[in-house]
């Protein structure tokens, strides 16, 4: 697909096919179009050209709410909490709508998502009062509460301590083992390579490398993009 905002082209003929159950990491410099790529997959932004298929269905014309109901979950790089609702209610919204669950089932799914993302101790707090770190976790909890088949993660490891990062890696590994397909954008490459089967490097709106993580990281193209910035 391609995506542009007015005259500004952001994604140019990006084509990616992800088998069910795979975990794909996405790296690339700031402004490469990584977040936009997720937005186009989950329907937050419409594509400018091309199409998006999910589970064999063309979802290009579907809105984000419909894609969420059919199993695409997404976190936002800049958290978007429901500030005046409690953490539990935030997750409950995901379970009740994206997850299509009702009553007790929805509540159980919300609690389950809070537990998996280690947010249970904040359950009754107003989401607007959370620290940035907790807000990022809440993003994960909400996405999980929708019972996703495909989980799109946008920089959720930034700013974590070593111990927190290890526990996050374990959480995402568990999700992968439970059969969820994962696309994970992350600058913390050590966290990525601990989980993903495949690494894609996006630069200036095009895929410049796609393959086994170690090889991608060593490739000339990726090194030149990151030259001077370190990775």
């Amino acid at each position: 697909m391609s995506k542009s905002y007015g005259n500004l082209g952001v994604l140019f003929d990006v084509s990616l096919s992800i088998p069910i159950g795979q975990a794909v990491g996405i790296v690339g410099p700031n402004g490469a179009g990584k977040t936009t790529f997720l937005s186009v997959i989950n329907g937050t932004e419409p594509t400018s050209a091309g199409s998006v298929f999910f589970n064999g269905t063309d979802v290009t014309k579907q809105g984000a709410e419909e894609r969420s109901r059919s199993g695409i979950g997404r976190t936002f790089q800049i958290p978007r909490p429901f500030s005046n609702l409690s953490v539990f209610e935030n997750a409950l919204a995901g379970a009740a709508f994206g997850g299509g669950l009702r009553g007790r089932e929805a509540q159980t799914a919300a609690l389950d998502a809070l537990e998996k993302s280690e947010m249970m101790q904040f359950a009754n707090l107003r989401a607007g009062g959370l620290s940035l770190l907790a807000r990022k976790r809440l993003e994960l909890a909400r996405a999980l509460s929708t019972q996703p088949k495909l989980l799109l993660l946008d920089e959720i490891a930034g700013g974590l301590t070593e111990a927190e990062c290890i526990s996050l890696i374990a959480t995402i590994k568990n999700l992968k083992d439970s059969g969820i397909t994962i696309v994970w954008i992350e600058h913390v490459v050590q966290a990525l390579v601990a989980v993903v089967d495949r690494l894609v490097c996006l630069a200036s709106g095009t895929i410049i490398q796609d393959g086994i993580p170690d090889e991608v990281l060593k490739s000339r193209e990726v090194l030149s993009v990151y030259m001077g910035t370190g990775i």
């Binding site: 329907g43 937050t44 969420s68 429901f82 609702l85 539990f88 709508f97 609690l111």
Partner: protein, 343 residues
């Protein structure tokens, strides 16, 4: 899931709140039979103020739609009474039919209004209200801009006043219960999510436009019902400029912000406050506006969350709770409960 986690929705509080409200409702319903009618006639205004404030709060406080054009529906509700009354329905029936019809009319209007966001939405709703006023006054049968009277109504003033009182009370109770029931349902969760972040709500499976449209229509019907009460109480509309006037929006905003936006109780408090200020000071000319202004300043300085917001924050008091509480029991001694690790 471990079994030592409970989800509470304050069922007791909700039951007490509802029971208390029911008692109050019964007391208010029999009041015109007991009290002097000069007293209860005044309360009609209180009831339609409560209705208007609750509807504005539903829109702004729970769905994030700041409208300054709800007078469009007040006016349509009032004029709708003439239309159906002329066709042989009683004034009261006409009010109810008009409210439903206004709900239908609000659907296409919402498509127009929803093209705009934020401040543009607010101004847009005002423009829509003005446009509707200009359309209405083109009809000679509706008084061509000079206002008109209801033709067919009960001449017995006691009967008329009692019926009007009951209708106003019924509309207010209906509006309040609709808010409470809606907000406790999953629909309420969707609404509040949309209010806080539309993009996130959308990506969590919530149909943003549809949900907002439903609320917009409910808000329109509530305001139309209030408008028909206003019309019936004065047996007609004196001036289309007043019934379609933006000052209704100003009073709704005043009541909701002072009372406490985003709570069920707040708009009722705001309506009560405004009702008394209006009762005792509306004849004092300029002072009336000064007093309203002073109240608004005091409230913004000392109670930024409104009266009920302050009560709620200080004593955690809520008569009509719509939120959820997660209760995690830490009972190491209690062997019956599974702990999280044993799961």
């Amino acid at each position: 899931m471990s079994s030592n986690i409970q989800i509470l929705r304050s069922p007791k509080k909700a039951a007490y709140g509802s029971a208390g409200a029911l008692l109050l409702f019964v007391a208010l319903a029999i009041a015109p039979k007991i009290l002097d009618q000069s007293i209860t006639n005044e309360w009609v205004k209180l009831f339609y103020l409560v209705t208007l404030a609750s509807m504005w709060n539903l829109l702004a406080g729970y769905a994030g739609m700041i409208s300054v054009g709800q007078q469009a529906f007040i006016g349509l509700g009032a004029y709708g009474v003439f239309v159906f009354n002329d066709h042989g329905f009683s004034a009261y029936e006409s009010g109810i039919i008009a409210s439903i019809v206004v709900g239908v009319v609000a659907v296409p209007i919402s498509f127009l209004a929803f093209r705009l966001r934020g401040g543009y939405f607010a101004i847009g709703t005002w423009v829509i209200a003005e446009t509707l006023r200009l359309i209405i006054i083109r009809f000679p049968s509706l008084g061509s801009g000079k206002g008109r009277n209801i033709q067919n109504y009960t001449r017995d003033p006691i009967l008329r006043n009692t019926y009007t009182y009951w209708m106003a009370l019924g509309v207010a109770i209906f509006a309040l219960s609709a808010c409470f029931i809606l907000l406790r349902s999953r629909f309420g969760l969707a609404l509040q999510s949309i209010r806080d972040n539309e993009v996130a709500a959308n990506s969590l499976g919530i149909k943003v436009d549809f949900t907002k449209r439903v609320v917009y229509v409910i808000g329109a019907m509530g305001c139309a019902a209030a408008g028909s009460v206003i019309c019936i109480q004065s047996i007609g509309v004196a001036s289309p400029n007043a019934i379609f006037g933006v000052s209704y929006s100003a009073f709704m905003i005043f009541m909701v912000l002072i009372g406490g936006i985003g709570t069920i109780e707040g708009p009722v408090m705001g309506a009560l406050l405004y009702f008394f200020v209006d009762k005792y000071f509306s004849q004092s000319g300029l002072w009336y506006l000064v007093i309203l202004g002073v109240i608004a300043i005091i409230a913004t300085l000392f109670f930024p969350k409104g009266i009920w917001g302050e009560i709620n924050a200080r004593w955690n008091l809520s008569l009509f709770p719509v939120s959820y509480q997660v209760k995690i029991e830490n009972n190491q001694n209690d062997s019956i409960h599974l702990s999280k690790k044993e799961k």
